[in-house]
Symmetry: C2
Subunit: 103 residues, 2 copies
DNA sequence: CGGTATCCTATGGGATACTG
DNA sequence: CAGTATCCCATAGGATACCG
């Protein structure tokens, strides 16, 4: 990998991940409070369950979402945002200001 | 479009655009100084000319790159970064710090 | 309810050859 | 040199049906 690529790679990975379809909408949904699968499905009326399932896994792998399966409640899994996302989201304010001015 | 989508859309557009393959590498190349097509091609050794051409157009449409065709020099077009990119790039420092800590 | 499986199409983008 | 044209394949993701 060239020097150029080394410099760009982490930012590219970050942007291409967050830029994926549904990712931000899913995060925004969960940001209103931890949610189970069908809650998110309802919020994002047109999402395909296959896509939602795979996005949630990707979000977990990336570290922006954590999932917890509640005992006793027959497989009820809830999804929450992580510290990693909270930390990242601090960058969003200035980015949103930028988009308002330039996009 | 739902309220949720309205909130996320500009950021999504921004991230999905910058997250595209080659976009950051092209920008990084040009950031060393305005360049013509073949200069960028040489820097990014493995890029397909069809892709480079289309990415440069997208970058122009997005407003991150401007192109100027020099008279007298038979179709020599040079590509430069714009104010819009310069303004955006001010957000990159904190993002890079974030990636160093979290990715 | 909380997902998986299957199918299908559209788009992305690489390889290569070509043009003014 | 500065792209464009053609072809081709892999992946993304929507539709729908199904399962424990």
């Amino acid at each position: 990998m060239s020097e150029l690529e080394k410099q760009c790679c982490p930012i590219h990975n970050l942007f291409s991940f967050i830029g994926k379809k549904w990712i931000l909408l899913i995060i925004k949904s969960i940001s209103e409070g931890c949610m189970c699968f069908s809650d998110i499905e309802k919020k994002l009326e047109w999402i395909n369950p296959r896509i939602l399932s795979s996005r949630l896994k990707e979000l977990e792998d990336f570290g922006f979402v954590s999932s917890h399966t509640k005992e006793n409640t027959k497989n009820k899994t809830i999804y929450c945002l992580t510290e990693k996302w909270m930390s990242f989201s601090q960058n969003l304010d200035s980015l949103m200001k930028w988009t308002k001015k330039w996009m």
